[in-house]
């Protein structure tokens, strides 16, 4: 490795490049915060514009939403354990935690896709009303992020299996964990201010 490796830091922070990568990713997450804020803005502005279509109270189901919430909260916890195992240098537990994280993410996605089918079945399609358009755009953008994360996370797991835990793979795995926790935070806001507010 060409860079000076600082052994007083966890591996993911151990080179100047690694620290910059992590800082840069926080800047990216800032842009993501603003992206989701604009989507929430659109939703809050249009959520009463249901036209002749259904309202949120009519189509939201608490059970699948609770399952999605539980899956994502647990996967966020598991990837935290994955990073912790990585810092202990424990490759196998780290990989197991990352794979479990991705499996719960996949479970979340399956429940969410099923929910979209249910909405369409009940006559709430993306062209039905401004409410459904903004709802599906917001949920869909989050779901697309989770989908992308499944591919990204799989690539990280493959690299760690092949190359082990080193400054480069630890950095990538840590940055992916930031992304995954961030998606959980966005979901908490969706759960609270779209679903629970709609069912109140």
């Amino acid at each position: 490795m060409a860079h000076h490796v600082d052994h007083s830091q966890p591996l993911e922070y151990s080179t100047p490049q690694n620290r910059l990568n992590i800082y840069g990713f926080w800047i990216f997450l800032g842009a993501e915060i603003v992206l989701f804020a604009t989507l929430f803005t659109v939703y809050f502005t249009l959520s009463d514009r249901t036209g002749t279509g259904p309202t949120g109270e009519e189509i939201f189901e608490l059970t699948p939403v609770l399952i999605e919430t539980f899956l994502l909260l647990t996967s966020s916890f598991l990837i935290g354990l994955g990073v912790h195992a990585m810092r202990l240098g424990r490759k196998t537990p780290m990989i197991v935690f990352y794979i479990l994280t991705l499996l719960l993410g996949l479970g979340f996605l399956i429940v969410e896709i099923d929910e979209f089918f249910l909405y369409v079945h009940e006559g709430a399609t993306i062209t039905t009303s401004a409410f459904v358009s903004s709802l599906m755009t917001t949920l869909g953008t989050h779901g697309a992020h989770v989908t992308f994360g499944l591919f990204w996370g799989t690539a990280i797991v493959i690299q760690v299996i092949r190359q082990g835990i080193n400054a480069r793979t630890a950095n990538k795995a840590f940055i992916f964990s930031l992304y995954w926790h961030f998606l959980d935070v966005v979901w908490i806001f969706i759960f609270s201010f779209i679903y629970l507010r709609g069912l109140m």
């Binding site: 997450l29 809050f44 935290g80 926790h181 507010r197």
Partner: protein, 93 residues
């Protein structure tokens, strides 16, 4: 085995489950819109803070001030966008 499950992470996870159930109270009980929104705001913000500080390790490096500035700046822009739009287009000012 126990070393793989650090206490703070387990406590944080249980905390996030408790906060989720606390947020559900707005659906289970007949609360007014204002009280309900306050409950949801408090539970969501605490949950976000748990994720940021515990799981995302936001405060553990020398550049933590820069990271906080970038994140809070983005959060501030988001809040201004949301509240400003509500003010102009929903609350009728």
């Amino acid at each position: 085995m126990a070393e793989l499950f650090p206490k703070e992470h387990v406590v944080g996870f249980i905390g996030s489950l408790v906060l989720t159930i606390a947020a559900l109270s707005v659906v289970w009980f007949d609360v007014s819109m204002v009280i309900g929104m306050i409950i949801l705001l408090v539970t969501a913000l605490i949950q976000a803070a748990v994720q940021l500080m515990l799981f995302m390790h936001i405060g553990e490096t020398d550049d933590k001030v820069d990271i906080w500035i970038a994140t809070l700046f983005a959060f501030g822009i988001g809040i201004v966008t949301i509240v400003g739009s509500l003010l102009a287009m929903v609350w009728g000012y």
